[in-house]
Symmetry: C2
Subunit: 226 residues, 2 copies
């Protein structure tokens, strides 16, 4: 993780690095995390490292076992479904709230991300598509002005990212047309301020994205312990 203008504490640094490594599967699910080893690796002491670990625990990316040892939270289809069911509700909620509060300027910003998504689809650049898709969802979350929902969604997003990795979203053949069309449709109803429709569409969008991940895992489930 890069640091910007503000100095980053060792604890924050460790948190960012570990989170990224877990999401990117550099640490395998269920793998043991040893404080001493990680501290030496990151060239910090155990004190700030532990802070980072405990934050990750509360976000559900690592688990403290009964004996005190930390492991990377295992991945299971069951948990993936849980995460997506909750995410479906939360994304539906913020979309509804955003629909009631969005300014014209916000709508323009959404249009921009969609334009960029279109270009990504044309070039079959799924990485870029994902980036702009996340911007799209991020703008909607922002416009909900619901900090509580935003906080939870951030935690869910971390887990979602890991499941995306596991399902092999990097594959260029990954279907991008469906999510693009769904985004366009959502924007349409956001413009009309039809909050109920927006909520329903957003929920269907998330529901469908879980299906995609489930299918990719089904065909692709050699490497991870499902």
């Amino acid at each position: 993780m890069k640091k910007t203008s503000k100095r980053l504490s060792a604890a924050d640094y460790a948190y960012e690095v570990l989170k990224e490594r877990i999401i990117e599967l550099q640490y395998q699910p269920a793998e043991h995390l040893l404080e001493d080893q990680l501290a030496k690796d990151l060239e910090i002491s155990r004190t700030p490292l532990r802070q980072a670990l405990y934050r990750l625990e509360l976000e559900g990316l690592v688990n403290k076992q009964a004996n005190g040892r930390m492991i990377v939270t295992p991945v299971t289809l069951e948990e993936a479904r849980e995460v997506f069911v909750v995410r479906e509700m939360m994304e539906g909620l913020v979309a509804k709230e955003a629909s009631e509060r969005m300014s014209q300027d916000d709508l323009y910003r959404l249009e921009d991300t969609i334009e960029l998504m279109k270009r990504a689809v044309e070039r079959a650049r799924s990485q870029d598509f994902l980036k702009h898709s996340e911007e799209f969802h991020g703008i909607i979350q922002e416009c909900s002005h619901n900090d509580t929902a935003k906080r939870f969604l951030l935690q869910l997003e971390n887990k979602v990212d890991r499941y995306r990795r596991i399902s092999g979203y990097k594959n260029p053949a990954y279907a991008l047309n469906t999510p693009l069309e769904e985004h366009i449709e959502i924007l349409q109803f956001l413009k009309e301020k039809s909050s109920k429709e927006v909520e329903d569409l957003m929920r269907a969008h998330i529901r469908r994205s879980l299906k995609t991940i489930e299918e990719t895992i089904a065909t692709n489930s050699s490497s991870h312990s499902f």
Copy 2:
């Protein structure tokens, strides 16, 4: 530092104590929390105390300001509404899921809590009522078998408890009949496994409880900074 039957780490102990004090308004909203002072008070060192503070921060009960100082999260009507809106969705979700998975034994356990709630209403013991009401909701959450949802609901419950305190729920005149009837109705549909109705009723139940708190605050809002 005290210990119970199962050994409690100093960090866990500090977490529990601080959480309780914040919820019970022994620490005022927006009050400064000094590590050294708290550590001396709890008779532990700063190391485990800080762990506790960081956990509370992630749960939204304390906030770390830009200068690094910790304050008790301020209370606002706006946040209360956010918390309840999210809680409404989550309680609706777990109720729906529980409805699909509940055993006869679980239903009996719910009946028991309702019996105890009835007795509490008869005697106008709102403290007892609240306790059994939380058991009622806890059983439903448990039966959802959705750990992700349960984790979030636990965090929300902490904030809800504080808002209940602020609204002065201790008042014996506090109306208990409405929530009791709502619980009874929810149980009825749980027995019939009508998951859609269960979800709708639970959501209405939470929505109504926010209204109660808003009203109590409106008449009672001298002491806290709304």
